[in-house]
Structures are given as C-alpha cells and as structure tokens.
Symmetry: C2
Subunit: 349 residues, 2 copies
C-alpha cells in the first residue's frame, strides 16, 4: 500500500476584489503519497520547502482575471510563490537529492516541482553557501532583480542623479536605494513608520528618509528633500506619492512604475492628476516586469553578490516563523506591517 | 521727423487661468517708427507678417507661470507665435529684403525680429516656392515635426503597429496618421465631429475614425477598433481618452504624451485612473517637446517635403482671413471649431 505522509498546506480559498484577509487562506493538513518520491517518468522532483516569499504582486493572482500577466491562483489549491527548497527525490536528471533550489513552489511542506512550469532562469540551483538561503527570495531573487532592472534598464541610472524611492524599506526599495548610492546618487526614501525611516538612514545608507503619513503636503515634503528636483522616481506605490513626484521631477526625469501597492485593493483606483508634467518636463514613465529581462539575471546576481560579500550592501528581512503564520505575514504586506523583505521560514534544511 | 506707420496688433491683455476668450486679446492700431527700417546696429530685421499660426501650446503662455518650459506672454504686448513673414529691411547680414522666413514673430502687421531671440533651427529662410507658405507653420513646421518626433523618437514606430491618434484631424494628428500609414501601420483616429471623421477616412487615408463625443463608452469603442490592442497611442488630448487607451494597450505599448488639450483650462485636471496597466502591459509613456530634437529637423523636413511632392501626403488647413479674426481663430482651437491646422492669413507677399 502506498505510503501517505502529512503535508501541511496554505490553501487559497477563493477570488477576492478587496485587500486580502487571513481568512482568504486556510491552513489544512493535506497528504502527499508515494513515500516522498518523485513519480517515475514524471520529469519532476519532490522538494521540502524551507522558506517562502511574500510578494505584493501575488495579490493580483487572487483576482479572477485572465487579463493579467500571470494566471490567477486556483481556489482549493495551495498558494503558489517563490521559495527556497531542498530536493528530496528527483526524476529530473538536472536535480539531485540534497540540491538546494529557488523557484516557484507551493505554500506547503512538500511540493512536486516541474522545471517546465517555471520561467527560464527562474528555477535556479543554489551554489552559494555563505549567503542566507532566504536572500535568494529577496536580495538575490526577484525583488532584488526588480530593483536592478528598474534602475538600469528603465531609469538609465547615472552618477549624480537625485533619486526618490517609495516603500523604501521594502524588498525592492532597500536595494534600489543602496544600488543608487553605490552609483554616486543622492537618495531619499519614503516609508510608513519612524522605525523604517530610522532603518533607512542608520543601516541602509540613504541620504534621507521621511514618514509619508506624517506629511500633510507631500509636494512640500518633496520640495524640501529635492530643492533641485528629482531625476529618478522609483515608484513602488502609485497614488498620492506619484502625483506629488510628478510635480517635482526634473526635465528629462525618469519614473519606473514598479508597483502600485497603494492601489492594489481598490476597484476604482485613485486618479493621478499631474500627468501634464510629463510634457513640460519631458518625463519618461515606464512600467516593467523583471521577467522580461531574465537574460540580465546572471549579471545582476554576480554584481549584487559581490557587493554583499564586500559588505557594501545590507538586506533587512522580516521573518515569520512557521507555515501557520504565512497568511498573516502575507496580509501584513498591504498595511506595511513588515519591516524589510517578508519571508516565511518553514523548515531547516 | 521720424516716419510713423500704422501697425495693427493683437494685444495680450492679461493672465488667465481658464479657457481663453476672445476678450483676452484686443485688436489695437499701434505704430511702428523708423520708416519700416531695421534700426542700424540692431542686428535685427523688419518683417511684414504674412501668416500666423494658432497652436494649443500658446494657451500655456497665457498663464502667469514661470515654471513652464516657455516664458509667459507679456501683458500689453502682441501675442507671440510662429509665422511666415517677408523681410522688408534688415540689419542682419543673413537676411535680405525680399527673403521669406518662418520663425517666431508677433501677431501684428510688422515685426522687428532678432535671430538671437529664436531657438536654433526655429528661424528658417524659406527656399521652396512650390509649397503653400502657410505649410511652414504646419506640415513642414513645428506641428509636423512634433508628429515626426513623437512617432519615431518617442514611440519607436515600426511596420505593422496598430496606432491610435486623438485630435486626429488637427495640425499634428493628421500627419501622425499619414506617416504611420506610410510605414505600414493600421491607424485609427478620434475626432470631435462627423465632418472631421469623414476627412480622416476620405482624404487623409486613415483606416478608420470615430467621433469620441458619440461614444458613451470609450473603452468599448477602442475594443471595437483595436480587437488585438493598441501598440502606439499618440495622445494629443489626455483625459478620458488616455484612460481608455491605457485599458487597451498591447504588451510593450508606447504612449507619446504630446498634448493635453482636454485639460489645458482646468486648474484641477481630471484624474487618470488606469495607470496600473503601465506595469502589467510594460508600457512606456513619455512626454516630449519637439524643440529637444531640432538636430533632426532637416531629416524631417526633407522627408516630409518629398512625400508631399510625391502626392503621398495631404495637409488640411483652416484659414482665418485677416488679423482681426485671429482671437476667434485661437479661441476656437479649444472647442475644436477648426477643421485642420488653424492659421491666420494676414497679408499677401
């Protein structure tokens, strides 16, 4: 008789059109058959999940929309996201038991992973043993690569630029700021709390930072921090901050539209009123997805790894312990509860 | 005694923050001294103005704002704009009596023009005698060059693109559509009346066109004309059309933000709600001014002149006869009263 093992899972309950709540997910004890073996002939491999990533884009997969760039979650199935996992058994000649991998996996203890379900370069064997494993979900993963692509490919970062980053202590923002500083830029971050602002200034090397919630007039705040105007706005939030930034861009300014976390849960998103500045200031405003630039991933990876090993880059994580805390960790992203990149620690290797 | 000549002028009365009205300008009989001579040592030349250009950007110069890319008009002085003029007398060795020039001039019968008050390449001697003079204000002038720069430099026009143009029968729009057609694109224009739509389809070679005012649902209209989506939106209007276009862009789409005529006179411009599409569709949205690309002007001029002489391009003008009709002609731009490029015929050479 086939051996069944318990497999705790975080199940996606059903589509929503509002901010995610913990009750949109359910912790369930499922089971996994086959004695933790990858089915022969499947070409798949079975992993034990070690840590999982909470990313704002996942909220889009909770909407019943086929129009998005990524298909929605399947109700009744585990949440899907980036994770670092250890191969337990494999029917794929490229992966062997004991290998550590980062790639798309399920929010559960064990997952069966198929190489063919992953984007090119998105499933990677982890060869570095002197970097925290969870960094492959942040600093060295999709969020870090998003910062790199946004600055270099979208914003044409150059020495001396003045740079504004919103959600600056988040998974993407903290690397945006540090990379820009390493390129000789003046960098100011906005964040949602004093604690985050202190972090930006004392640990992450930002020139300055402010709590957007404490600014009654964001336009005035930006004029204070950027008396000469903003060359680059790395926009992780949309909404009021984008509108205020538009008023303060320099001629030839660039805006990377990376996330609109302030607008994610609104069915009628807030209007942006100051786009006429695009003309008078000749601003280039561009949305992007890191997945369109995967050919640059190795370049990014090696450069940022080097900076990290040289002690030139710091990365702050907010680690939730245990799969049972995954729903709360995910929901917390949308109220800014996390300080730094939100990950979930599921198991030790 | 110095000979004084009458010089009828259209005077700018004072700054406004709303749509322009005829009463914001005043026809006045001024005078010009010196016997229609350029003052010796002035380096200037005296011209007789033949035709003047009405352009929407001029509305920005009626606002008391030094923050704009171009200084405001001077109250009590004539309106300033592009014109075609004939040199009467000259203290500038580069210009001789009888020369025809296009460049910045005043809304008056005679103007004293200084080369040094003009942008490079903006003051040009007219050498072509087989093209209507007023075309140097439209097809072969700033509006035509705006179409060229927007399509090639901003939107990276390529064969097979699907192209939406708003204000499509206007000074810029009609050339956008025709250039895109000459590059093998599918082109649809929006305009404000049946007459304009007929013009676009029957004379200007657009694949299709529609009256935006007759569409209760612009999103639905765009889905009808662009079932596969829009690659390029050449935006001359902003507002609702921009919002609807954002919903219908293809992945990798490009939006040239060229004018926001629908928003010019609003102190609190309308909000744009669909910018989240910039991310999911990886859209590049860029404002621009033709004056940043003047090094390309000769390239544009020769190419469009060739197309015109080959009969491949048509240009529709709306000509107001006489300086006294200039205020009404200008004001009409903002309600879309003009059909084609609005010019004012002041005098024959």
């Amino acid at each position: 008789m086939e051996q069944q093992m318990e497999n705790r899972q975080v199940i996606f309950k059903g589509f929503i059109d509002r901010a995610p709540r913990e009750t949109d997910m359910e912790l369930k004890v499922g089971s996994i058959g086959g004695g933790l073996k990858a089915p022969p002939g499947s070409g798949a491999f079975l992993v034990k999940n070690l840590c999982l990533s909470c990313d704002p884009y996942m909220r889009g997969r909770m909407r019943d929309s086929r129009a998005s760039y990524i298909p929605p979650f399947v109700p009744g199935q585990p949440i899907e996201g980036s994770g670092v996992s250890k191969v337990i058994d494999s029917d794929d000649p490229d992966f062997k038991p004991g290998d550590l991998v980062s790639g798309l996996t399920g929010w559960e203890e064990y997952s069966l992973v198929r190489k063919t379900d992953q984007l090119p370069n998105q499933l990677r064997k982890i060869e570095q043993h002197d970097v925290p494993l969870s960094y492959h979900l942040g600093l060295l993963g999709m969020p870090g690569f998003t910062a790199y692509v946004g600055l270099h490919e979208i914003c044409s970062l150059k020495q001396g630029d003045t740079v504004l980053v919103s959600a600056a202590s988040g998974a993407v923002g903290q690397l945006v700021g540090q990379l820009a500083k390493l390129h000789g830029c003046y960098v100011v971050g906005s964040a949602g709390s004093r604690q985050k602002v202190d972090l930006l200034k004392s640990q992450l090397g930002f020139d300055d930072a402010f709590v957007y919630k404490e600014e009654p007039d964001l336009d005035a705040a930006l004029k204070r921090y950027f008396p000469q105007g903003i060359d680059i706005y790395f926009d992780n939030v949309g909404g009021d901050m984008l509108d205020a930034a538009l008023l303060n861009m320099c001629v030839g300014g660039r805006i990377a539209v990376c996330g609109m976390v302030s607008q994610h849960s609104q069915t009628d998103p807030q209007g942006i009123h100051n786009l006429f500045n695009l003309i008078s200031k000749r601003i280039r405003m561009q949305g992007f997805l890191q997945s369109d630039y995967l050919h640059l991933f190795p370049l990014f990876f090696n450069q940022v790894l080097k900076y990290y090993k040289q002690g030139k880059i710091t990365y702050v994580e907010d680690v939730a312990q245990g799969l049972e805390h995954a729903p709360a960790a995910f929901v917390g992203l949308f109220s800014g509860r996390n300080v730094g990149k939100q990950v979930i620690h599921v198991a030790n290797p």
